[in-house]
């Protein structure tokens, strides 16, 4: 819901434009009389989405849930990583909000792990926005007790561009980049890699078969985002997954301790 009527009218100001220097032709008279004024909006283009994201985040905070936004290009291995994560972190209570353009294929894959999976078909849209995720949260709330959950993973639509710009209410952003995509992708799609708190380089079991320099991928990401946590993983062999699990556990624990500290503070 957009609520910015009040400040806008305050920000409106008038400035008369210089008159055109051809006042003698009747045709231009009306132009000479034409007055314009400027209304200063100075508002973010994504203001409405941002408000929705803040609203979603407030719900997650209230329920003590950490929300993770999982993003990558199509086929980088988000769903398979989630399958491994659900198997490996059985001590955490996890729910999934699954964004998929038209199908429930990914959602069905994840449901077999016995966790709540809310599927959101984005239709023609190439990313999830905060309104769609709000719908997912609403469904989750109706079918389950959100206060019993530790972590909600929002699996975004496969796309390296748009999801980077639309917050959904997450606390952490995790990006995946598979080794088959090439070292240059962080340089070509920098916003996604700048925004990520954690980057998983996936399918490293394939690296020996490719002309790929894993060090170069990391270096390219680091010049855009020096603080990102980077893990090299293979969902197929299990390599590197423990480090990812450790990072995720820590992210959840940090969130919990922060919200406890917040609730204690007068």
């Amino acid at each position: 819901m957009t609520v910015w009527n009040a400040p806008l009218s305050d920000a409106t100001h008038f400035s008369k434009r210089a008159l055109p220097a051809v006042p003698f032709l009747p045709f231009f008279v009306s132009h000479a009389m034409h007055q314009t004024f400027d209304a200063a909006l100075e508002m973010n283009l994504l203001h409405a989405n941002q408000q929705g994201a803040d609203h979603n985040r407030a719900h997650f905070d209230e329920w003590g849930i950490t929300c993770l936004n999982l993003m990558s290009s199509p086929g980088a291995g988000k769903t398979q990583l989630l399958e491994c994560t659900l198997r490996g972190l059985r001590d955490l209570k996890i729910a999934i909000i699954e964004g998929d353009m038209t199908t429930e294929l990914d959602a069905d894959r994840l449901r077999q792990y016995g966790v709540p999976v809310i599927a959101i078909n984005t239709g023609r849209s190439c990313h999830l926005d905060s309104k769609m995720v709000a719908g997912g949260i609403h469904q989750l709330q109706q079918a389950h007790r959100p206060t019993e959950l530790d972590l909600v993973v929002v699996e975004n639509v496969g796309n390296l561009v748009c999801p980077a710009e639309f917050e959904v209410g997450e606390h952490v952003k995790v990006a995946l980049l598979s080794v088959t995509e090439g070292e240059d992708k962080p340089l070509k799609y920098p916003v996604m890699f700048r925004e990520a708190d954690c980057l998983l380089i996936t399918k490293i079991d394939l690296a020996p078969y490719l002309d790929i320099d894993l060090g170069q991928i990391e270096a390219n990401v680091r010049q855009i985002n020096p603080h990102v946590a980077i893990f090299q993983v293979s969902a197929k062999t299990g390599d590197g997954l423990d480090a990812w699990f450790g990072w995720l556990r820590q992210a959840v624990a940090d969130r919990v301790s922060r919200s406890m500290a917040h609730s204690v503070t007068p």
Binding site: T36, D38, L41, L45, N49, L187, V191
Partner: protein
């Protein structure tokens, strides 16, 4: 200027993405317009768009022209001001212009891109209206 993301992973994804942005843009302007005591004619919409965003101005322009047809914004002109990506190097204590798509670290000392001074803007700056 070297724009970002002229090659979208899904060829169709970029226009759709700007379609959403344009919807948000029109919705925001509509809210303002509805709140005015007398609805003015909006002649120009001024946007400020940074280079380090996922927005392609040409697609935005196209989506705006299509979506405003027959609405209160019919005939309004979209004016987009491009803002370059400017980073600040703490080591050299200087601002620099990263080469988008090639190199983001400091060209002098190779420190990674830490602070972004500009280029992340996605702002509706102001509207030019005809006085009622």
């Amino acid at each position: 200027m070297d724009r970002l993301h002229t090659a979208c992973p899904l060829p169709i994804a970029s226009p759709m993405h700007e379609t959403d942005m344009t919807k948000a843009l029109i919705g925001t302007i509509r809210d303002w317009w509805d709140s005015q005591p007398e609805q003015p004619t909006i002649e120009k919409v001024h946007l400020v768009v940074g280079t380090f965003t996922c927005v392609e101005p040409a697609s935005l322009q196209f989506a705006f022209d299509v979506q405003t047809q027959g609405t209160f914004l019919d005939g309004a002109q979209l004016v987009i001001q491009d803002i370059p990506l400017v980073a600040h190097c703490h080591t050299c204590q200087t601002d620099y212009l990263p080469e988008v798509g090639r190199q983001y670290s400091c060209p002098t000392c190779n420190s990674p891109m830490e602070d972004i001074r500009s280029g992340r803007e996605l702002k509706i700056d102001r509207l030019e209206c005809a006085a009622v």
